[in-house]
Subunit: 211 residues, 2 copies
DNA sequence: AAAGGCATACCGAACGGTAGGTATGTTTGC
DNA sequence: GCAAACATACCTACCGTTCGGTATGCCTTT
């Protein structure tokens, strides 16, 4: 078998991908390591060769998931957009393109795991918290730059608005998962975009929400 | 032992309360029926006398949780407020009073279970969906009545705005659970209120969000 | 009113399956 | 030949569920 000598071995990758897929669907507790192995087409020996246990692979899978988001941001060329307000608009557009994507399972792995473990299991909980906060801080930064470059119609705290956006995204995914439909994603993210942009002088209708 | 002949027996009640408390904290899978019995101070025999299994008590507990919310609405006297816009304002205020309450565990049992079971276990999933939809429909009704009585500044679809509010509440509770802090609840629900009221002509600052 | 019958409330030991983890062996790459 | 990379069988703890049993009170029959 051909094996890439550099970077992570293939089976490890497959285990991580399978974990992301399964835990995104079923959460942490309901996902069994046997399931992960079967899904990845790998034996338990390999599993415990690469990971010390279920919790650790969950942590690693969260990193994989997070990297996926960062890659998406990088590939979008967001950083290269010169005007901060355009950057914000592109970010909002990116959300609307990404989350309702019909090929992928609805949901955010970090939000799913975070909700599930809640106050118990602070190992996973803290990790999720750090990643959620990282997301919010990234958004906050874009908001702050846009605010600095374009005096907004009303003053706002970028951190607080970013927190609201985080909650909207997570709550929307939760509802969409439960309803098994994506229409609420389209609706809520559009509202979200129009709300955020309404902070910046745009005097046009902030909600063209009927039909 | 004195036993109330009418209504639900005490031990059944205790089991349900314990289930709500534990599943609100830990979700469905992580909550054991032994835990439930211990927390309720009841033996396993009683448990399986009143409930056919873990899933069924979860369903019943969801009803208990939902009834708690309906009771709160009833006790608030929301229905007796004559002016629809005042009723909407009171509803928004009610959200801001209820969810950050420091004595209770952060979270919504329905959202927690819904997120966890996701696409698997449609028995619980459908039940959660019905209750989430019920919440949204209730909110939508208040929005629609307010809109009918007071022509809004901008047109909006009550169902869609209610869906956004549902997502904000659920997402906010998720984030607050993860952060183990309630400040994000205060922040997001205030934003939510100001946003909704901004739909009705209020020309004042829709976000007094800085500090 | 006493006796018998029967349903409800409750108890807790035991069981059966499962899932996470381990021990140990075998192959593969350098 | 020696690690790393796998594979297989197995162990054990736990968890949901079952099941045989007791206690208690009400209802019916005589």
């Amino acid at each position: 078998m051909i094996r890439e000598s550099n970077s992570t071995p293939e089976k490890k990758r497959r285990l991580l991908d399978a974990t992301v897929r399964l835990m995104l669907r079923q959460g942490f507790a309901a996902t069994t390591v046997d399931q992960i192995c079967t899904e990845a087409g790998v034996t338990k020996g390999s599993f415990f060769h690469y990971f010390t246990g279920k919790e650790q692979i969950a942590q690693a899978a969260i990193e994989v998931w997070s990297d996926g988001w960062l890659d998406l941001l990088a590939r979008s060329g967001l950083e290269r957009i010169p005007d901060p307000l355009d950057r914000l608009k592109r970010l909002l557009q990116l959300l609307e393109e990404t989350y309702p994507h019909p090929e992928t399972e609805i949901g955010c792995m970090i939000g799913t795991v975070a909700q599930e473990v809640g106050p118990s299991n602070r190992t996973l909980g803290d990790l999720c918290e750090r990643h959620l906060d990282g997301w919010a801080q990234g958004v906050s930064k874009v908001l702050a730059e846009a605010k600095a470059a374009h005096p907004p119609r009303v003053d706002f705290d970028p951190d607080r608005v970013a927190d609201l956006m985080l909650a909207i995204v997570q709550g929307t995914l939760l509802v969409a998962r439960t309803r098994q439909g994506r229409s609420v994603i389209d609706n809520n993210l559009r509202h979200c975009r129009e709300y955020v942009l309404s902070l910046f002088g745009d005097p046009t209708d902030p909600v063209s929400a009927t039909r």
